[in-house]
């Protein structure tokens, strides 16, 4: 039965992989690259540039984790995933982590067996319409044709929103952001709905962004964050605390510019613990002491990543809003490094 055993093993390898991957950290270190699931292309969050080099806010998280774990921010294999394929890719072990505008919901966390390690962008679902349509509020959208990315929470929010407001609509389900953009621009739908950040990012790529308005209503809570598989708590800790390190770095004023200088030792014990000059936080994670320093050096702290990729100085032009540090009245808050 040796042969059938081999064949059988091959056939169920995909299913078994999820259960077998108990030590993702070891796997990643042995492989030398981090497989990170990102979106198929959303400017500002994750998109390849003209040279095929991925960049963006979500990509920044992948690179920070790669730098912390492998010491090389370039050692990332980016796997583009659609709204439909992302969870299968993560559950099957094809990717080690997913950083792709994914909303943290109860059922994804509990039923789909994923572990959200934090929130890197507090978002909400919005609507975009051409200015000439003359619609200023989502409450006026009765009977409208709505373009929507299929396989996302936005699909469910949309159904709930129109139902609770007693309005009718015609959903046009679309697989990727690029196709949605094409249909929206051709007028095949009146409004385009997705996370407000995604709308801003999409609008920034239009020829005349000024011809399109975002409606004031935000119809849902969309906490977006990176996630890993259930069951490998150590790997979950690595990703969670890498994200927390970026947030804490901003809070403590550690930037990509001064991290080298600060890692020589400062008067602030928390900075010292973060950068590994005091205590053994890195070793507790199974990494070396410089892990956080390397993560911060890649793209800077959380605030720098935000400003460089999606901030007000970029074409996407998102304000910090809810995503400001808690000290500035936002929701971005990291547990202490202690």
């Amino acid at each position: 039965m040796k042969k059938s055993f081999v064949l059988g093993t091959l056939a169920v390898a995909g299913l078994a992989a999820g259960a077998a991957a108990a030590g993702t950290l070891d796997d990643v270190q042995a492989r030398g690259t981090l497989n990170c699931g990102v979106s198929t292309g959303l400017v500002g969050f994750a998109a390849p540039d003209a040279n095929g080099e991925w960049s963006g806010f979500d990509v920044g998280v992948c690179r920070a984790v790669a730098a912390a774990v492998l010491g090389d921010a370039q050692a990332v294999e980016f796997v583009p995933t659609t709204g439909k394929t992302r969870f299968t890719a993560l559950a099957s072990g094809e990717i080690d982590m997913l950083a792709r505008n994914t909303t943290w919901t109860f059922s994804r966390d509990v039923d789909l067996k994923f572990e959200f390690v934090g929130v890197n962008y507090y978002d909400g679902q919005g609507f975009m319409a051409p200015k000439e349509l003359g619609v200023s509020s989502a409450a006026e959208l009765d009977g409208a044709t709505v373009c929507i990315q299929t396989g996302t929470t936005t699909e469910l929010n949309l159904a709930d929103f129109f139902r609770s407001n007693n309005m009718s609509y015609e959903p046009v389900p679309i697989e990727t952001n690029a196709e949605a953009q094409q249909q929206y621009l051709a007028g095949a739908c009146d409004v385009f709905t997705t996370d407000a950040s995604g709308l801003a990012a999409t609008r920034a790529t239009f020829e005349n962004p000024g011809d399109h308005v975002l409606m004031p209503e935000i119809i849902s809570k969309e906490p977006l964050g990176p996630l890993v598989r259930h069951g490998d708590n150590n790997w979950g800790d690595v990703v969670r605390w890498t994200l927390n390190a970026l947030v804490t770095a901003e809070e403590l004023g550690v930037t990509s510019a001064n991290v080298g200088e600060m890692s020589a030792g400062t008067n602030n014990p928390e900075i010292n613990r973060l950068l590994g000059t005091e205590g053994t936080l890195g070793a507790m994670l199974g990494l070396d002491g410089d892990w956080a320093k390397r993560a911060i050096m890649v793209g800077g702290n959380y605030g720098e990543l935000f400003e460089d990729n999606i901030g007000e100085a970029t074409p996407i032009g998102l304000a910090r809003g809810l995503n400001a540090q808690w000290t500035d009245g936002g929701l971005i808050y990291s547990p202490p490094f202690r």
Partner: protein, 422 residues
């Protein structure tokens, strides 16, 4: 005197299973069967165990939870509070619609092209060759996407119909709206309709059938049978007397008058599309996704059917055509009365497999956002519930059932046109 003695009664020994050629092949087959079954069993139990380890036991309870999403094209009443099972049912109906429309159109185009490709007219034959080769050799997904892109970019948005200086207008006596969100055609309405009959109570497979439609179909069937009886009577009279009575006015009358009367009694009128708010309201809305999918699947499959038809016609020996011609039949009638009926026997078996292909290819619908069963059960439901294995198994079951039904019906038809041999 010779005495007949029975040969020694051979006793059955276990080793004969292996060394006796009478039993050996059976032994091998039994062993192979046991091996095969145990591999299958092992694969299934392994999968279930692994899924259990992942915390995802195989169960179908999610089908009865509320789906929470909307579907644009629904032939039966459905809203986001209905169950996933109901959403799957809506998807199955959408699959059946596009498969049914596609098979009919593909057959019509295919037969026409297949015959025309054999035409003696050089230009017609060459054009048909180009059509067949172009469609047959490009993946159908590309044709679907192309058709969708043409519809979206080529047709005007509903807003072009609005206002004083509208750039677009309705076609065909102001009754058909061609927009980049779909085609709106007039819909039949009944002001004194006799209502619907609801089937299957409150289950997820419930649907209602219009009694108006049933009545009209019943009247049509009755009319046609009366018309057939008139024809047979005329044949009888012609056989016995040699004179055929004029029947066309009678047959036309019994076909048209009763239906017209029923339509008038039901208060039949057309509902025209009208621009209201963001979109056209009223009329039947044929969405772009349906049209693109239908068109692409039909044209693609028609190219294959054309080749099958051409092959079927070429399989009929030239002598048949010549014999018919020498009897004085015109080319049209030779094709319809002599060649095609015989060619059908060659054509139908491969035609069945093309119908099956078309139905299975309709699962590419998601490329244009058509909500077929792959889009609902295998798309949104799968994604929102995370039940990959269960959804895919159900999906396979659905396609298997549809395909087996199609081939069952077509095989029955094939048997009825098959050459009866004595």
């Amino acid at each position: 005197m010779a005495t007949l003695t029975d040969p020694d009664k051979e006793s059955f020994k276990l080793s004969m299973l292996l060394y006796d050629t009478r039993y050996r092949s059976m032994t091998i087959q039994v062993i192979a069967l046991i091996g095969f079954v145990s591999i299958v069993f092992w694969l299934i139990s392994n999968t279930i165990t692994n899924l259990n380890n992942l915390g995802k036991p195989v169960e179908f309870g999610f089908l009865f939870e509320s789906s929470s999403y909307d579907i644009n094209q629904r032939l039966v009443e459905y809203n986001s509070r209905d169950s996933h099972l109901r959403a799957s049912f809506v998807g199955v109906l959408n699959t059946l619609v596009v498969a049914f429309l596609g098979c009919i159109t593909a057959t019509i185009i295919g037969v026409f092209v297949g015959v025309a490709r054999l035409s003696k007219n050089w230009l017609v034959a060459r054009i048909m060759t180009v059509y067949v080769e172009a469609f047959r050799n490009v993946p159908v997904l590309l044709w679907i996407v192309l058709a969708m892109a043409i519809l979206i970019e080529g047709l005007p948005a509903p807003k072009a119909f609005r206002g004083e200086n509208a750039t677009a207008s309705l076609e065909v006596f102001d009754s058909v709206a061609l927009t980049n969100r779909g085609v709106y055609v007039p819909e039949p309405l009944f002001s004194n309709g006799i209502g619907d009959v609801a089937l299957f109570g409150q289950s997820s497979l419930r649907f209602s059938v219009s009694l108006d439609l049933i009545l009209i179909v019943a009247v049509l069937i009755a009319s046609f049978s009366v018309s057939g009886w008139i024809k047979r009577r005329a044949n009888r009279i012609q056989d016995s007397t040699g004179d055929r009575p004029t029947t066309w006015h009678l047959r036309l009358g019994v076909t048209i008058l009763p239906v017209a009367l029923v339509l008038w009694m039901l208060g039949f009128h057309l509902g025209y599309p009208e621009l209201k708010g963001f979109n056209f309201k009223g009329g039947t809305h044929l969405r772009n996704s349906l049209i693109a999918l239908w068109l692409a699947l039909s044209l693609y499959t028609a190219a294959f059917i054309a080749e099958i038809v051409r092959g079927g016609i070429l399989a009929i020996s030239r002598g048949q055509t010549e014999a018919a011609a020498s009897l004085g039949l015109r080319p049209n009638r030779i094709m319809n009365l002599v060649v095609l009926p015989q060619a059908l026997r060659v054509i139908i078996p491969p035609l069945i497999s093309n119908y099956l292909n078309l139905t299975k290819n309709s699962s590419l619908a998601i490329a244009v956002g058509y909500m077929d069963v792959t889009g609902t059960l295998g798309g949104i439901t799968l994604n929102q519930t995370g039940r990959e294995l269960e959804c895919i198994l159900l999906l396979m079951l659905v396609y298997l059932t549809i395909s087996l039904s199609i081939s069952g019906v077509m095989n029955w038809y094939n048997n009825s046109v098959k050459l009866v041999e004595r």
